[in-house]
């Protein structure tokens, strides 16, 4: 059931992606005293599953894709966009000039990513159902009664 296994890897990746988006949104309003220690939005880097050497070899020799292994979460990267500096002299986190650093979480971007993740997740579940239906149909080949 290679097709279902491929879809499952995509489900894992989208699940992880949603976890990161949740973490970003949860920390969107967590202020810090300086830009250095403020929360940095996380983003998932995905990659086609398979070893790097294998990809390189196939790419160099012009061969098609090898075994279809799906996708994987390659890394989690912190977004280095500078934080929002808000002038709030009354805030306990304010620095000497009265500025508070808020994480550079773009709400619109996070919501878009969230919808994208949810839709990709759904699409992969539908692909999985289709694979299952094809499998069930194949089991009916040659069945009597």
């Amino acid at each position: 059931m290679q097709a279902m296994e491929i879809s499952r890897t995509a489900l894992d990746v989208e699940w992880r992606s949603l976890e990161l988006i949740a973490q970003n949104l949860a920390n969107a309003n967590a202020p810090a005293a300086s830009s250095a220690e403020v929360y940095k939005p996380l983003q998932l880097v995905t990659a086609t599953k398979g070893s790097f050497a294998e990809h390189l070899r196939r790419g160099a020799s012009g061969m098609g894709p090898g075994d279809l292994l799906g996708v994987e979460a390659a890394a989690v990267r912190a977004n280095e966009t500078p934080p929002r500096l808000v002038h709030e002299p009354g805030n306990p986190n304010a620095d000497a000039a009265g500025y508070v650093a808020y994480p550079a979480v773009d709400h619109a971007e996070q919501m878009t990513l969230m919808i994208k993740s949810a839709r990709t997740y759904e699409a992969n579940i539908v692909a999985m159902y289709t694979a299952r239906e094809m499998y069930s149909k194949a089991l009916e080949i040659g069945r009597r009664s």
Binding site: M1, M4, D12, W15, R132, S136, R143, R144
Partner: protein, 102 residues
């Protein structure tokens, strides 16, 4: 100058000389049928145990994503269905042999 024409000639050679080409009807290894069935049932059993373990892990703490649990259950169910189909066909074949007029 590319490699492709040479490959085409080699393919044609195997068509002209079928004895050299590996025959698909001849199994390379002689595994007894009962052994194949036993191996298959062992595989299905391990899938069911796997599903069982993931359900247990999910009930203990839900750090495991739900889809991994349902996927393991689904895989176990499909393997079981395949086994039941195999069984149905085996029984059918056996009955046909038993009903043979001698």
């Amino acid at each position: 100058m590319s490699i492709a024409p040479v490959a085409a000639i080699e393919a044609a050679a195997t068509i002209l000389n079928p004895a050299a080409a590996p025959s698909p009807t001849q199994p390379s290894t002689s595994v007894p049928f009962s052994q194949m069935v036993t191996n298959g049932i062992d595989g299905i059993s391990s899938k069911i145990l796997n599903a069982d373990a993931s359900v247990r892990a999910f009930t203990l703490d839900d750090s495991v994503p739900v889809h991994q649990v349902t996927f393991a259950l689904e895989q176990a169910r499909q393997s079981l269905e395949l086994m039941m189909q195999m069984r149905a066909r085996l029984v059918e074949a056996y009955q046909q042999l038993m009903n043979m007029q001698l």
